[in-house]
């Protein structure tokens, strides 16, 4: 009753987040039509969701289908909302939370791979060191002259992070990363 008004929040109630945020990888199958990417990222920015990584490319040319891979971070409740909101978009066919699916299949996480191009200033003694390290990381040289290398490296994001960190003291010039491509292990598709 109003006689016992308690100190509280607001009509715009802002709940204290008690759940912990998790990082999940989503696969979104969409019609490859103009504006579809804008719809997806507009949904994320408009509703205050996070995007940590985003990749998109047409995967089935005949069917005009594109696959978007999004790495996002949120509480389980928010992640469920993200999936539902994405599915509401008209050109979206399917949304699969690969991280949830992987857990269901008994895996740690889905297969996640990223490609990076790493340009390193390579002269003097650093030159040999850079090459040696690149070899250890199975990065290949795709361009070089006597002053630089461009390495191509593929792997888990953590491996790429590590490679970039190691290249920094050797004269890192620039980095370009594709963002994460992902799918689940096992015979089934998304």
């Amino acid at each position: 009753m109003s006689a016992h008004l308690q100190p509280t929040g607001s009509a715009y109630f802002i709940a204290k987040e008690t759940e912990l945020a998790e990082t999940h990888t989503l696969s979104v199958l969409v019609d490859n039509e103009p504006g579809v990417l804008a719809r997806v990222i507009g949904l994320f920015s408009g509703r205050g969701y996070n995007i940590e990584s985003l990749t998109v490319s047409e995967t089935e040319h005949e069917a005009h289908l594109s696959r978007i891979t999004i790495v996002t971070r949120g509480t389980p409740h928010v992640l469920e909302q993200i999936k539902n909101q994405l599915e509401r978009l008209v050109p979206v066919h399917r949304v699969v939370d690969l991280t949830v699916r992987a857990a269901g299949l008994g895996h740690d996480r889905p297969i996640e791979r990223e490609l990076a191009l790493v340009k390193v200033h390579g002269s003097g003694e650093h030159r040999v060191e850079a090459l040696r390290l690149a070899d250890a990381f199975r990065a290949s040289v795709i361009d070089a002259n006597i002053e630089h290398f461009v390495f191509e490296i593929t792997g888990k994001p953590s491996k790429i992070e590590q490679f970039i960190a190691i290249m920094k003291p050797l004269g890192l010039i620039e980095v370009c990363r594709t963002g994460i491509a992902a799918m689940n292990r096992g015979p089934q598709g998304m």
Partner: protein
């Protein structure tokens, strides 16, 4: 049909597609980028075009038209400012799930991106405020897109869509495809049948309930008359009490014996207490909006919740539910009614006696009470009289946004669905009058009244000119207290009674204003004159602005103050100045 018969210009395709989708009226405003379509409108008479005075008006008219008929509302605007003016009604329709097709002109394709005259990125601007939108780049795609636009607008959870058509596409010749020949987009196939297993679970839970409450919403109205029919049947069968959101009024009749009144921030005490204390809540086509729930962590703490909604993203969005059922309300309710009947052991209604006893006690608090006056017209009294004098007629009510809207919801009794048009989600001042014009276009013989405030009505007053032009006898019933009443009420609650810019010092003379537009103005200042004045308004076969001068400082109660739970309502008899001033604590003030 031979190949050549199907050849049309883009503008012809637009008109043909509208006709094939059953459109009889469109609301619009011409401009450079839609002239070819207007030229086609000129050369036919199957579709009637209503010329508005501002594109926002066109949108709200289409909304009122849609909401009162269950059909899709159609608006037509030009590029640039025409499209940007449409944004408010588009967002309004998105939030209230109103099916709307907005056709906009665009600068010719080669000029897109060149900052051409009256160019704007219409699909970019309207992307977040529509369910979907299209920029037509090929005249041969135009018919398919328009048909798909109608399908998307009215299927699933209804909403607004935009079809942006560059001027060169309107001139170009292409093939017309009829709706039946168009394949639907595979990625959009909303689920309309509820999962029977879940419905069985829900019925079992309902059978065991001792303190149940049905909380219905706008989804019941959107689902169509069948949904209201089954809702009434379910209430009758179960004997459960029922409350509704602002958007859902009329689905269950206000005169029904199980009716608790509206719930939420300005809902009745009995409705909110029932929500708080219930053991089973059946949410039907509503979305746990913040105006409904109050403080979320104190929302109905001891109940199991069933949620029926056609939109999966509404489930578990604000409130966690125990039994989610995704499907069209009418279908799910039909199954529910059938399963309830079929269940071997019929539930004993007597088990609800204690619950109804509690409800009777809450009802006895008479939470809508106000102090009557012989000297000034109390706004609540004005609505009550308006209701009494119009209830036996074929009446449609729209509102603007503010105190008058809440009083209308509290004191006007709705017996049927589709009779109540109000801007619930977006809270758009200026909605009510154009919406009423749209309703009147759809129901020319009916009595259509916009219950307005003196501030809201001035936001789309220009449509008087439209109402007069088409002889639409819409009635604007202004509760004139010279304040933005709801703003003032919140300033009293939250801001130490500092009434910053909520008083209108230069009020127009509404009677003269009505006359200037070619309508009729009526002013009423005394409670004793009110009935006669209302009768005069009803009997006037022309647009009327009724300037009802009401008590200036009346506030809208009961109220769940900011940050409070349903059982912490501020009731009118407790709403002393001091209680009002202290109703919201410092923390609540920051967050409102």
């Amino acid at each position: 049909m031979s190949g050549t018969e199907n050849q049309m210009t883009g503008a012809e395709i637009v008109l043909q597609a509208l006709k094939d989708n059953g459109v009889e009226h469109i609301f619009g405003y011409p401009g450079g980028a839609v002239l070819p379509i207007y030229d086609e409108i000129f050369q036919q008479d199957e579709i009637e075009h209503i010329l508005v005075r501002h594109e926002q008006g066109a949108g709200h008219m289409a909304e009122g038209y849609a909401r009162s008929t269950g059909k899709v509302g159609v608006m037509l605007v030009t590029s640039g400012p025409g499209a940007t003016n449409a944004v408010t009604p588009l967002q309004d329709a998105l939030m209230d799930s109103i099916p709307l097709v907005c056709i906009s002109g665009q600068v010719p394709t080669p000029l897109i991106g060149s900052d051409a005259f009256q160019e704007c990125d219409t699909v970019g601007i309207t992307r977040p405020c529509t369910k979907h939108n299209w920029l037509v780049k090929d005249v041969n795609e135009l018919a398919r897109i328009i048909h798909e636009a109608f399908r998307v607008a009215q299927s699933g959870r209804p909403g607004p869509v935009v079809v942006d058509i560059p001027k060169d596409i309107q001139f170009a010749t292409g093939t017309y495809t009829p709706p039946s020949a168009v394949p639907t987009q595979k990625s959009y196939q909303p689920k309309t049948q509820g999962d029977l297993k879940k419905i069985e679970e829900a019925v079992a839970l309902m059978k065991s309930a001792r303190q149940p409450v049905i909380y219905s919403g706008g989804g019941v109205i959107n689902s169509g008359p069948q949904a209201s029919h089954f809702l009434r049947e379910l209430v009758e069968l179960t004997g459960f009490p029922i409350t509704s959101t602002l958007m859902g009024l009329g689905a269950y009749p206000a005169s029904g014996k199980n009716w608790l009144g509206m719930l939420g921030m300005h809902g009745t005490y009995e409705a909110n207490m029932a929500m708080h204390d219930c053991d089973v809540m059946i949410c039907i086509g509503a979305r746990f909006d913040d105006r409904i729930t109050g403080r979320l962590n104190a929302f109905s703490p001891n109940s199991k919740k069933i949620h029926i909604d056609i939109d999966p993203s509404s489930i578990n969005k604000n409130v966690r539910v125990d039994i989610p059922i995704v499907g069209d309300v009418a279908n799910v309710l039909e199954d529910m009614v059938r399963l309830w009947r079929a269940a071997a052991k019929t539930a004993d209604k007597a088990r609800l006696d204690d619950w109804w006893g509690s409800i009777a006690k809450w009802r006895a608090r008479n939470s809508l009470a106000y102090t009557p006056s012989h000297d000034v017209i109390m706004p609540q009294y004005a609505i009550q009289r308006l209701y009494e004098l119009t209830k036996d007629r074929d009446t449609y009510i729209t509102t603007e946004v503010g105190q008058h809207q809440m009083w209308a919801a509290q004191f006007f009794g709705f017996e049927q669905p589709n009779r109540w048009m109000t801007s619930g989600g977006l809270g758009t001042m200026g909605y009510g009058f154009p919406a009423a014009v749209g309703v009147q276009v759809a129901h020319p013989e009916s009595l259509v009244i916009d219950i307005a405030g003196d501030a809201s009505i001035q936001m789309c007053i220009q449509e008087m000119s439209c109402a007069v032009q088409y002889g639409l006898p819409v009635k604007i019933f202004i509760l004139n207290n010279q304040y933005m009443g709801m703003v003032r009420q919140w300033q009293q609650l939250l801001h130490g009674n500092r009434l910053s810019h909520s008083y209108t010092e230069a009020m127009p003379d509404f009677v003269k204003l009505a006359e200037a537009y070619g309508g009729v103005g009526i002013r009423c200042e005394k409670p004793g004159d009110l009935d006669d004045a209302i009768r005069r308004m009803i009997d006037t076969p022309a647009p009327v602005i009724f300037d009802c001068r009401v008590a200036n400082l009346a506030n809208c109660f009961p109220m769940i103050p900011s940050g409070k739970a349903h059982n912490e309502m501020l009731l009118p008899d407790e709403a002393t100045d001091e209680a009002v001033a202290n109703a919201i604590d410092a923390k609540g003030r920051q967050l409102v």
